[in-house]
């Protein structure tokens, strides 16, 4: 009897729950433009790899909407609202800027022509996407998505820190801020809008504010600022310690001016009594360098490196081939070339060019191991028809490998020019997704760090990676048995044995060696 009662209750409950479930989407009839969000701190442009929903599908908030490739990694974009996916504005493989609309979600049979017109009319609309320019996100995100903050849902963040400084223009949403971080920032005069949160979903947390305050402290009387200007922070001490990554003194002064103009000190900052943590940070900044244990949050780039390298080392059976190359002739040729051009061609440009030539001669090295599609389980090797060579570039905390496409068909000068641009943009964090995707071969050069030779992990989807050591003056027994001193460089080729057998890798290296040691090969000269 009792069991029957419980069963009845359960049934009623289910029924009610079901009704709710159905009723909810119907009540939601206001269609919304769904914007591209900044999925990584530096992201400006992103490519939609794949839509997981089709037009007409029902989506629930938090459900995987599409996969987005940012400058660093492939991220999942979760639906910010629920409803019907009425229109996809940026399709598979297409790119757009942060803040630009990618889709419309709304109610059943809703008329969205006005919304679509609005999306078109936006100066930041689809047209801007092709230019790759970052869109001015705030209006769209702030006005049309008041309740949509899918990855970092924090409506309270919209209440804004009391700092009168507007949020950075490149982001369309305010990052969430932990309550104590907000309070400490106000006390220390740190502009929370300028901080990049290290917490989940970009949440600005206590340590971010402490670090910013620690960085900003020396700016209180910035060097090189006229005395009158230096005195100004005293009137607005809070703003003077605002972090300003670039051009610190002027930015700090602007902030100070804004703070004093817009906020007649509603809550007096208390720089004389900062939180204990802040004091410790500031003290530590002045102390001599010493080793301290730190826990470092993982950046999206670090995560991408970790995942790709681990996956590569686990999946691809690596083996390594080392060869010593005499570089005397090439160095001499390079010097002559530099003199005649009146500028320096980088050694890396030569390496890319010669590697491309060697790849043309041993094309199996320029390949990718592909797990077969279609669920059949078969696998293939794709031997590429072009040498798209990536060069690993070290960053402050990370590494990225921009690609020079089609090196076989480009001359040295073109390669060198492209390389310089790519390296500069890599270091500025401005590379676009298409500039780092789908290399066919990768080069890593630690020669300028004094490394003699090293082994590298294969950079997927390549089947081989070449590790380049320094050029060292080395005693060598010549072919005629005489001891001579030569400039010798050691090359180490990491090969994926699934694709490249030992003899094939060895053939490639010996071809490369021959080209480098005998640079009066027609390839170079003709294409100059």
């Amino acid at each position: 009897m009792a069991a029957f009662g419980i069963w009845c209750l359960g049934f009623v409950w289910d029924l009610e729950f079901g009704i709710w479930d159905f009723a909810f989407p119907e009540e939601r009839t206001v269609a919304e433009l769904i914007p591209m969000l900044a999925l990584s701190p530096t992201m400006e442009v992103a490519t939609i790899i794949k839509w997981n929903k089709a037009e007409g599908d029902t989506v629930t908030a938090g459900e995987l909407l599409c996969e987005v490739e940012t400058d660093k990694a492939i991220m999942e974009y979760e639906a910010p609202v629920e409803g019907k996916l009425l229109k996809i504005l940026v399709g598979d493989g297409q790119s757009c800027g942060v803040g630009e609309p990618i889709a419309v979600i709304g109610g059943e049979d809703e008329d969205i022509t006005a919304l679509l017109a609005q999306a078109q009319a936006k100066p930041t609309g689809a047209a801007a996407a092709t230019t790759g320019k970052p869109a001015a996100a705030p209006p769209l995100a702030a006005e049309q998505q008041p309740q949509a903050a899918p990855l970092v849902a924090a409506p309270q963040a919209a209440a804004a820190p009391s700092a009168p400084i507007p949020p950075p223009a490149e982001t369309g949403r305010r990052a969430p801020v932990s309550p104590v971080a907000r309070r400490l920032a106000e006390q220390a005069g740190v502009d929370i809008g300028a901080l990049r949160g290290s917490g989940p979903g970009g949440r600005v947390v206590k340590r971010d504010v402490e670090e910013a305050a620690g960085r900003g402290a020396p700016l209180a009387v910035p060097a090189g600022v006229p005395p009158s200007a230096a005195a100004a922070p005293a009137a607005a001490p809070a703003a003077a310690v605002a972090p300003s990554p670039q051009a610190a003194p002027p930015a700090a002064l602007v902030a100070a001016a804004r703070a004093s103009a817009a906020a007649p000190a509603p809550a007096a900052p208390a720089p004389t009594a900062p939180a204990p943590g802040l004091a410790a940070q500031v003290a530590a900044a002045g102390a001599p360098a010493e080793m301290t244990e730190q826990v470092i949050p993982i950046s999206p780039m670090r995560r991408a490196i970790a995942e790709r390298m681990t996956q590569s080392k686990a999946a691809a059976p690596h083996y390594y081939l080392v060869i010593a190359v005499r570089m005397d002739a090439l160095l001499e040729a390079r010097q002559r070339l530099n003199e005649s051009l009146g500028r320096k061609i980088s050694l890396n440009a030569f390496l890319l060019k010669f590697v491309a030539e060697a790849l043309a001669r041993v094309p199996r090295v320029n390949a990718t191991w592909e797990a077969g599609g279609g669920g059949g389980g078969y696998q293939t090797i794709r031997q590429h028809g072009r040498a798209d060579i990536a060069l690993a570039v070290a960053l402050n905390d990370g590494l990225i490998a921009p690609i020079v496409r089609d090196c076989s068909r480009k001359g040295l000068l073109a390669i060198d020019g492209e390389l310089a641009g790519l390296i500069a943009r890599a270091q500025a964090g401005q590379l676009r997704g298409e500039e780092i995707e789908n290399a066919t071969f990768t080069l890593s050069n630690l020669g300028n760090m004094g490394i003699d030779q090293f082994t590298s992990i294969i950079n997927p989807p390549c089947a081989a990676t070449l590790a380049v050591g320094r050029i060292a003056r080395t005693p060598v027994i010549d072919e005629d048995g005489e001891l001579a001193v030569h400039s010798v460089m050691k090359l180490t080729l990491s090969c994926d044995h699934r694709v490249i057998d030992g003899a094939v890798g060895a053939k490639f290296l010996s071809e490369l060696k021959a080209l480098l040691e005998n640079p009066v090969q027609p390839a170079l000269v003709v294409q100059l």
Binding site: S178, P179, V180, R182, R183, G199, V205, K206, V295
Partner: protein, 325 residues
Amino acid sequence: MPVITYREALRQAIDEEMERDDRVFLMGEEVAEYEGAYKVSQGLLGKYGPQRVIDTPITEESFTGVGIGAAMLGLRPVVEWMTVNFGLQAMDQIINNAAKLRYMSGGQITLPLVVRGPNGPAEWLAAQHSQALQALFAHVPGLKVVAPATPADAKGLLKSAIRDDNPVIFLEGELMYAWRGEVPQGEWLVPLGKADVKRAGGDVTIITFGRPLRAAHEAAEQLVRQGVEAEIIDLRTLRPLDEATLYASVARTNRCVVVDEAWPLASVGSHVAWLVARNCFDDLDAPVELVSGDDIPMPYNHALELAAQPSAQKVVEAVKKVMYL
């Protein structure tokens, strides 16, 4: 200071209070001739005789009711439940009589009753006898609820509970009876309604009570190796709650982890987590974490049984979460 067990500390408290006040008496199943299922009452029958150390039938509802009646009429009974799981038989007496009589009589009736016994999971006792039921009592206005985690607190709090004019539910732990610690001899009172900072630290506040205190201490030791100094607060009394001590700590550490071995829904731990989230909102750097028992009847399988309970590892994980480590 002598080092004695939790069990001996409880015995000292009862013995001293019976000596001090002849209105105090002990009753329950097997407390007299057998000297207690967990030997808390060892030696008391010999010292005070069968008038004051009374074996009852296996009828929790009846003898708890007898205790309430005795308290109404001026005695100061200590009623032992062999386990709190058995005490569920007496919930009507506790909730509708013990908790209500002072209030409904406009204060004319006092109810100096202590009901005590082991609460919380032990080992291999399966779902019906491995339950942390503190929330059922802490839920009820009119009761005081105490859960000591150290021998010294066990003695000091039990003596205070016996002297209190309100019904006090005194929650012990089967696995804690053998725990040892320094306990002051003679008169030693710990006030009800006062939490205790068991370990000082500035990085994170771990709030707990009862048996998980040990897991919290182990976690704190592990965290030291990662440069984290945890402050551990032992609530000791679950009703009334000492909120001020919690807030003062969280205001300094900005991070809070609550550990309660009970189920998570509507538990003391979830209530404390809510209190901290509300009252320390501007001090928090991360959402408050709750480490609870799993939301399931206790498995009998020992590996699953252990996995379903709070552990030092789970506390460490929660601390890392609130510290973004």
